[in-house]
């Protein structure tokens, strides 16, 4: 879990860097920009996969059973 979060955080950080790169430049080099766009598209795809809608799972925890185990 922690690793997944770390990866997601890293991806978002990288994505943020790319967005800032685009925001801060008045004249964007088309070729360099294209490389950045490709990189961003890959990160976005991977991050969206991590954040895609997945049904939650529910489990009821029984106190009695737990107590018996004690």
């Amino acid at each position: 879990m922690a690793k997944k979060d770390e990866n997601l955080n890293k991806k978002l950080e990288k994505l943020s860097e790319i967005a800032v790169w685009f925001e801060e430049r008045e004249d964007i080099d088309i070729e360099e920009g294209l490389q950045k766009v490709k990189e961003a598209a890959k990160i976005i795809k991977e991050s969206k996969n991590r954040l895609k809608e997945i049904e939650n799972e529910f489990e009821e925890v029984k106190k009695e059973l737990e107590e018996i185990e004690e």
Binding site: M1, D5, L8, I54, V61, K63
Partner: protein
């Protein structure tokens, strides 16, 4: 009643009956005694009649109840009674203790809050950060309440693994259940623990102002989120939780906040990148269009210039052609003249050659030979007369068709004729 019961059987019978009577009674504390074991004994006195009943509170219950008993304190106790066999006295076994009336509850709440505040239970520095992307969530609440539905409906679908522990959440009776639930949840591998219930009065929420429960939550191994509704004052559990909200819905939003933010952030970045790169492409296109326009304009200008010069070029070419033709005509004429001169010269030469040929032919010795003349040779020398001969010489006689060899027998010279 033919067969009388033994005392023991009778007590057993009474206790069986009494065990089915789980009840709440209200009264005033008197003759309070706290044993070394921690068990508490007191008499609960009827305010109006002065009637009393013996009560016992086991140490664990007393620690859990969160009410500091003292003589004269008006309380509500819940539990069951039984006969203490050794003395034959009836004792009410207290399961819960609570203050009577909102005023007393509030007073107890404020007192406990002050105490726990001093101990640093509610310090901001002591609060742990809620994981940004939690997956395993423990939820303590009542299965029957609306809180769990509100929570689930607002949690979002991010593949959470939700462990729900059903617990009483109403009144003082909920304390024991809640504490058990927390203890059960301790054994689970969780990212975050959530305690939720809907709003209510101070009395109905009193379990969440329980000191022991607060301590359990504060000591929980992972961050705790409280989503406990309240009227005026935040419950002590809410104050001690690492993140506290007044509704289960808000607590659910906190759990999924990281995911929602990540989604929004990605969307925002996506837009920024898309917009800026689109602009860059537009700028690039405009640049190319401008350059293209300039090139077109330059080319048009060039074509105009060329067309302008076309006539001049045509004229120059025409002039050049004329001059070439003129030169060519002259050359042809000159050549014709040369040829003509050469031809004339050739005719003259031919005539000369013919004349010469005739002269040569006329003087050709072979022609003379065919006419009957003979060329005589002596010692390879032509003999032009008898002067070079003497009798007995051998000579060659060359005819037009062959050679004959002769012997000079006699020579007759012609006289008076000189050559």
């Amino acid at each position: 009643m033919e067969n009388p019961l033994s005392v023991a059987d009778y007590i057993t019978l009474i206790n069986q009956v009494l065990s089915r009577i789980d009840i709440k009674i209200v009264g005033e504390v008197s003759e309070l005694k706290i044993a070394a074991s921690g068990h508490v004994y007191f008499s609960l006195k009827d305010e109006k009649t002065g009637d009393i009943i013996n009560c016992a509170v086991w140490n664990s219950v007393y620690r859990m109840c969160g009410v500091k008993l003292e003589d004269g304190l008006k309380i509500i106790v819940s539990g069951k009674a039984d006969i203490y066999r050794a003395r034959g006295t009836l004792t009410f076994k207290v399961r819960t203790v609570e203050h009577v009336g909102e005023g007393a509850l509030k007073k107890a709440y404020l007192k406990l809050r002050e105490k726990m505040e001093k101990e640093g239970f509610f310090d901001e520095e002591s609060k742990r950060e809620i994981p940004r992307y939690p997956q395993k969530i423990g939820v303590i609440t009542s299965k029957k309440g609306a809180a769990i539905h509100d929570f689930i409906n607002n949690l979002g679908k991010f593949g959470f693994k939700v462990y729900v522990c059903d617990s009483r959440v109403e009144g003082q009776e909920a304390v024991e259940d809640l504490i058990k639930s927390v203890k059960v949840m301790r054994k689970r591998d969780l990212d975050v623990l959530v305690v939720i219930r809907g709003g209510g009065s101070l009395q109905s929420l009193m379990a969440f102002d329980n000191e022991m429960l607060v301590r359990e939550l504060k000591d929980f191994p992972v961050p705790v989120v409280a989503g406990i509704g309240h009227h005026e004052d935040v419950t002590l559990c809410g104050l001690a939780a690492d993140a506290s909200f007044s509704t289960p819905t808000a607590a659910a939003s906190k759990i999924s906040e990281g995911y929602q933010k990540a989604r929004d952030f990605i969307l925002k970045c996506e837009r920024v990148i898309e917009r800026n790169y689109e602009n860059a492409l537009k700028n690039g296109k405009n640049f190319l269009d401008n350059k293209n326009k300039k090139v077109s304009e330059y080319f048009e200008e060039f074509v105009k210039e060329c067309r302008k010069n076309e006539e001049e070029i045509k004229r120059i070419i025409a002039t050049a052609k004329y001059r070439i033709r003129l030169k060519r005509d002259r050359s042809v004429n000159d050549f014709k003249k040369i040829i003509s001169g050469f031809s004339s010269s050739l005719t003259t030469t031919e005539n000369k050659i013919e004349n010469f040929k005739q002269v040569v032919d006329g003087n050709n010795p072979e022609r003379q030979l065919s006419l009957g003349y003979v060329i005589a040779k002596k010692n390879e020398q032509i003999v032009k007369g008898v002067k070079g001969l003497k009798e007995g010489d051998n000579i060659e006689m060359n005819f037009f068709d062959g050679t004959a060899y002769s012997f000079i027998k006699k020579i007759n010279k012609k006289y008076g004729k000189k050559r």
